[in-house]
Amino acid sequence: MNASSPLQVAPAAGTTEGYNFGYLDEQTKRMIRRALLKAVAIPGYQVPFGSREMPLPYGWGTGGIQVTASVIGPADVLKVIDQGADDTTNAVSIRKFFNRVAGVRTTEKTSAATIIQTRHRVPETPLAENQILVYQVPIPEPLRWLEAREAETRRMHALAEYGAMRVNLYEEVARYGRIAKGYDYPVEVNGRYIMSPSPIPKFDNPKLDNNPALQLFGAGRERRIYAIPPYTKVKSLDFEDYPFTVERWAQACALCGATDSFLDEVIVDDQGARVFVCSDTDYCEDRRKQGFRGAAPDALAATASGAS
């Protein structure tokens, strides 16, 4: 390859020779790229695509990886999170994968990334116009639990026949006194398609609405790609008398004291002592660097060092 080409950027350390850029072959990328363009043109509609075998099992983000591989270029900076954390197995492996097969730079900082691949969270730090958020999606069809037949759910989307979904939400109100879904809470995109936001906590749903970043969704096993363009209206389904609300905690983050972030409950010793900490590790660290402190800033020191 011509080293003086303006398209070339020196690959980051750790690149493995012998793979096409981004692992996938060019024909696969073209097929996925065509699906992505149609997905953006029809917000919330699930575009079928020919998902490929990837060097990791379904359920580990094969859909998200194929979308990222088709979008990523040498100038990109990639961040990968799993449940908000940059340092979990899935996130580390995927970051390393793209470092090896595309030679791209990776980061843990939300603001420094141009592409963020995520499993089950949207970063707390607001996204910008130059960023693309790629979601890993296990089950893209929001109506699947109500109707098992693909031909039938496809027709329901075609006719915008979403009564069953409304009844399902109403049944939760009748049974529990509220809409009980805590994650994968269905949304309506641009006033037309009902879409699964992937299993993000409903806490993150408001971030999908009118986001400056482009949001792409990839479901590898189910072979579907869908998208939300920037600045698009995304509404969480609800009722006038049972409006959509997000979860709140009585606690603040034990490490950084944040009261506006999604908190994970973590058991810290054999006696069952527990603390609440930010699920978004980058956000939490950033706040601590700025000098914010929670009630127990060293709560995770023992677990982080590997001691039990």
């Binding site: 390859m1 303006p6 398209l7 060019e26 997905a39 575009v47 270029g73 027709r155």
Partner: protein
């Protein structure tokens, strides 16, 4: 299948990197309708294909996609077939991509594949050559991907194009999506975009 004359003009140099670059611009254009992007890709497609149109079709077409050429663009058909392997579409309604070099004689948008209610993605993406595109002008765009409204100026489209566009927009989720190209610049109009003239 018509016999193919091997073209003298080169395709994309460094295809993996060049097509990634062009695709990202196309994605950006489609995600933010009305944003005028300019490709820096080095490419000299045969007339009447502009650099932008050539880059787009070489990036997106392959043996899986039927491409339709209008009469004026026929001279570039062999170039595209040779470099992409794409078969020719006999009719507009069969085309995954359509290349229109003579925008004043654009077939009605409804003549292209509009997709079905079940599969609205199975629709034609048009690449239409125009005289010029500017990020300012009398057109006002709104819809997904646009914060508020975005101005656009286009020269060289048939006068009734925007009327047809309104009909296309109203057919949502069915409809065609359009790239307008001029020289190295292009702009995308997904079916969701409302255009006030």
């Amino acid at each position: 299948m018509t016999a193919l004359t091997i073209p003298t003009a080169a395709g994309l140099a460094e295809p993996a990197l060049a097509s990634q670059r062009v695709f990202r611009q196309a994605l950006e254009a489609m995600a933010r309708p009305g944003t005028v992007v300019g490709t820096e890709i080095v490419l000299a497609p045969p007339a009447p294909l502009s650099r932008a149109a050539g880059a787009l079709i070489l990036t997106l077409a392959d043996f899986e996609t039927l491409v339709w050429f209008d009469r004026a663009a026929q001279s570039a058909a062999d170039y595209v077939r040779f470099h992409t392997g794409a078969p020719l579409a006999a009719q507009t309604a069969d085309a995954a991509f359509a290349i229109v070099a003579d925008s004043t004689n654009l077939p009605p948008l409804t003549a292209f594949a509009l997709g079905t209610d079940e599969y609205p993605d199975r629709s034609t993406s048009l690449i239409v050559e125009v005289e010029s595109i500017a990020g300012t002008g009398p057109l006002m765009l709104s819809g997904p991907g646009i914060l508020g409204r975005r101005p656009l100026g286009v020269h060289g489209l048939a006068p009734d194009f925007w009327h047809q566009w309104r009909t296309n927009h109203r057919a949502f989720p069915r409809g065609v999506d359009v790239f307008l190209t001029a020289g190295a610049r292009f702009v995308a109009l997904p079916r969701t975009t409302t255009v006030e003239t």
